[in-house]
């Protein structure tokens, strides 16, 4: 697996000709220092509006993220790509790999968010259980079992203590 710690762009190539700089799109090959390259899509707002009109849709169809620019000039496209390449190329990578991300990535983020969201609703013992499970690093999906387990163990100890009262003699050792 290739890990980019610093994105160094060597070249930006427009793969198709631009007929209207204010209404169109262009496929752009972004080439990196080591020769590796990938293609991203750059569009204008007018292109998106036209797409919706022609498709008779009230929204742009969902497919991979793209860069939107005011004008399809090499200078502006380069400027936009440089901005998207910041922070280890996070947004640039999203434009390239956004439609290939495994849904589990989002499900994990959603689960974390649900957990934080659910915490706001917790009170008293529930909140205590949340922190115990969090620090015990119990997986989020298994945490629901902790509370009944706790009461089951507590109930068992009480029942055991009642059935075998001599067990309590152990504590009387400390009274002398």
């Amino acid at each position: 697996m290739i890990k980019f710690t610093n994105i160094v762009i060597k070249d930006i190539r427009l793969l198709n000709q631009i007929e209207d700089e204010f209404n169109g799109d262009v496929d752009v090959a972004v080439e990196f220092k080591d020769g590796y390259s990938y293609v991203i899509s750059v569009s204008t707002p007018a292109d998106l509006l036209e797409e919706m009109e022609i498709e008779k849709s009230n929204f742009v169809p969902p497919y991979s993220p793209r860069i939107i620019v005011k004008k399809l000039s090499k200078e502006i496209i380069t400027e936009a790509i440089q901005a998207y390449a910041q922070n280890d190329g996070y947004w640039l990578k999203l434009c390239r790999f956004g439609d290939e991300l495994d849904i589990s990535v989002f499900n994990k983020l959603e689960a974390q968010h649900r957990e934080e969201w659910g915490l706001l609703e917790l009170e008293g013992l529930d909140r205590l259980f949340y922190y115990i499970q969090k620090y015990l690093k119990v997986p989020f999906d298994n945490r629901v079992l902790m509370e009944p387990m706790f009461f089951l163990i507590l109930g068992s100890l009480i029942a055991y203590g009642l059935l075998k009262p001599e067990l309590l003699d152990f504590f009387s050792n400390f009274t002398h």
Partner: protein
């Protein structure tokens, strides 16, 4: 994709940079590469590919098409 072509949905087309004979049709993430029509011959589809493979394919086509 073919259904949307049949229904007359939007398929944009542009000339490919560095080629005189090739142009690109686009629909979402799909790119269709065609050889321009000459004389009475119709356009000829030579590739239907996802956008991500476009650059690599064009490098191959550079050796084959004008």
């Amino acid at each position: 994709m073919l259904e949307s072509i049949d229904s007359g949905a939007r398929i944009t087309q542009e000339n490919l940079e560095g080629f005189n004979t090739l142009k690109r049709y686009k629909k979402g993430n799909i790119r269709i590469i065609v050889v321009r029509s000459k004389e009475n011959e119709p356009e000829k589809i030579i590739a239907i590919i996802p956008r991500k493979d476009l650059d690599d394919l064009l490098k191959v086509f550079k050796k084959k098409y004008d």
